[in-house]
């Protein structure tokens, strides 16, 4: 089974919630945490571990055998990304940055062998053991590459492949289709938001996405003393979600963040808040020990 931690906008403390919740949930489930914020993965930094067991994510990229190509232009016509341009005589050229690796060009090319399967490195996935009793899978997009989707989907597969009782995904910010990909198959979404106008605006979008995907959501309000939690409750209610925790702005959390020591393992009072969130999740999911 899978749950997701997501947040409308960046910097709401989504990753802090994800790693602390993972540590707390470890007592109940055999789990894996997957960091699917592939443009800026940070869970390993918060957990104080170095990424290990790197695997490349390579995408198909057409290479043309100009000896065989008949310059029929079919490949260029089919490419939705307009990644193939043709010269006046029909000779195709690839603009690698635009190519999504979908292989539609290869499928339509009428001449066997005119399009060869080249490969392009898009990023990596990692599988890192943590000192907290669960592994972390991380997806990381290569700088200069534009397409996050293949990394998200590969990292998720790698995490699913471990066959754990619980897969916990930490998604990117926002509500684009890479976030939906990460959320897909979740039994529950924990939406982390702030009670500021910006946080509320973006929090509403993630609840909307959860609703569209038919996944129940719970809301964690971070830095809850920065604004009006009542407004967050209103929005949550509109989307049938419940506000399950309010985490006030805390120097302790910042300190633990800076030191790379998850707060849930400390004696600070905030540790209790994360345990509380964990027990709400366990209650919802059932099972566990």
């Amino acid at each position: 089974m899978q749950i997701a931690v997501s947040g409308g906008k960046g910097g709401t403390g989504k990753s802090t919630v994800a790693i602390n919740l993972a540590i707390a949930l470890k007592e109940h489930y055999d789990l894996v945490l997957a960091d699917l914020d592939v443009e800026a993965p940070n869970d390993h930094l918060l957990l104080g571990v170095e990424l290990a067991s790197e695997e490349p994510v390579e995408l198909f990229m057409p290479r043309f055998d100009y000896g065989k190509c008949t310059r029929c232009r079919k490949c260029a016509e089919v490419c939705e990304e307009h990644a193939i341009i043709t010269m006046r005589d029909g000779t195709p050229f690839l603009m690698p940055n635009l190519c999504s690796g979908c292989a539609a060009c290869e499928i339509v090319c009428p001449v066997p062998g005119a399009i060869l399967p080249g490969k392009k490195l898009m990023g990596h996935t990692y599988l890192t053991e943590t000192p907290y009793g669960f592994p972390l899978v991380t997806g990381r997009l290569l700088e200069g590459e534009e397409r996050a989707m293949p990394i998200v989907s590969r990292a998720k597969k790698r995490a699913q492949g471990l066959g754990k009782e619980l897969l916990m995904v930490d998604t990117a910010a926002g509500t684009s289709n890479t976030v939906s990909k990460a959320l897909e198959d979740s039994r529950l979404i924990i939406a982390v938001t702030e009670p500021t106008p910006l946080g509320i605006h973006d929090g509403e979008l993630i609840l909307k996405l959860a609703k569209l995907m038919n996944v129940p959501a719970m809301v964690v309000v971070n830095r809850s003393d920065l604004g009006d939690v009542g407004k967050v409750r209103e929005i949550a209610e509109k989307y049938d979600a419940e506000v399950i925790a309010e985490i006030p702005y805390s120097e302790n959390i910042i300190r633990s963040y800076v030191e790379g020591k998850p707060i849930v393992l400390t004696d600070y009072p905030e540790a209790g808040l994360f345990r509380e969130i964990a027990s709400r999740v366990v209650e919802f999911l059932g099972g566990g020990e």
Partner: protein
């Protein structure tokens, strides 16, 4: 001149700094501001924008649809979809609209002609307004579940360029998207320089280093602003990195509760709390931007 402001990831105060910088430069320079974070735009909120003067829908995203009537349930489309977007629900093959990338591979491999069609859908809106501060703002909002495409940002920048021509503006200041994906590439590409914003934490350093690689890819000069500079005194790696890379530091802003408070007031912090420590630091930064960048 086109200036991009980037951080590699949200949450380090990039947009609040951008809003305050725009506020401090508004009397002296004529510019258009662009909020390129179409996935989670917020510059409009920080600038107290209440309504849009003009909105354009952006139709461009494509999603596949399967006609259950003619589908023979062979499963080839599901097998071949490069992004695993086709599911079987109650025996029917269904495209998940919220993850489909619109590549049409399924349509090409489907043995029953006409069963899979590629339909154009709205990917979001691009919109324009004149802020109460006298400069125009172009912003966009991606629809939920659409590909996070750079096209929206490109569209925004084109509109901004047109406005520059019409209104005789000299500069475009682009608040770049978070991350390093296509929206960021579209935000930074074409700029003359990028101002990076980071805070002294390992996570922010890692994010800004990745954004800097995108900047280098475009062979642009970069500058750095350090936010919450006093928040982690033992952490010198951010400054060390900037020095080693030869990235000039435009200034440092101390951690100041005036910033989150100003956000709730929907005002740039230099306007809401002009006497705060953060505002003072921001004015020095604006001064350096005037002297070293805008001249």
């Amino acid at each position: 001149m086109q200036i991009a402001i980037a951080s590699g990831k949200g949450g380090v105060g990039k947009s609040t700094i951008t809003a305050s910088l725009l506020y401090l430069l508004k009397d002296e320079y004529r510019f258009v501001a662009v909020d390129a974070d179409a996935d989670a735009p917020n510059l409009d909120l920080l600038l107290g924008v209440e309504r849009w003067e003009e909105e354009r829908e952006l139709i461009g995203a494509k999603v596949a649809r399967i006609n259950v009537e003619s589908c023979i349930r062979c499963g080839i489309c599901q097998e071949r979809c490069p992004y695993d977007c086709i599911k079987v629900i109650d025996g029917d093959y269904v495209v998940s609209e919220l993850t489909c990338e619109g590549c049409n591979v399924c349509g090409l491999v489907c043995p029953v002609p006409g069963t899979i069609t590629l339909e154009e859908v709205r990917s979001g809106v691009v919109r324009k307004t004149m802020t109460r501060y006298g400069f125009p703002l172009i912003s966009a909002q991606l629809d939920v579940g659409r590909p996070n495409s750079g096209k929206l940002v490109t569209e925004e920048k084109e509109w901004a360029k047109k406005l520059m021509g019409e209104l005789g503006l000299e500069h475009m200041i682009v608040d770049s998207a978070a991350g390093i994906g296509c929206q960021v590439i579209a935000s930074i590409g074409g700029a003359d320089l990028t101002i990076l914003v980071a805070e002294p934490t390992p996570a922010s350093l890692s994010d800004v280093q990745r954004a800097y690689k995108v900047v280098q890819h475009f062979r642009q000069p970069a500058y750095l602003i350090i936010n919450k500079a006093d928040f982690n005194p033992g952490f010198t790696a951010l400054r060390g990195w900037a020095e080693a890379e030869g990235i000039p530091i435009l200034g440092e802003i101390p951690y100041d509760r005036a910033i989150p408070r100003s956000m709730s007031m929907l005002k740039p912090f230099v306007e809401a709390f002009p006497d705060s420590k953060a505002a003072e630091a921001m004015r020095e930064i604006a001064e350096r931007v005037r002297e070293e960048i805008l001249k």
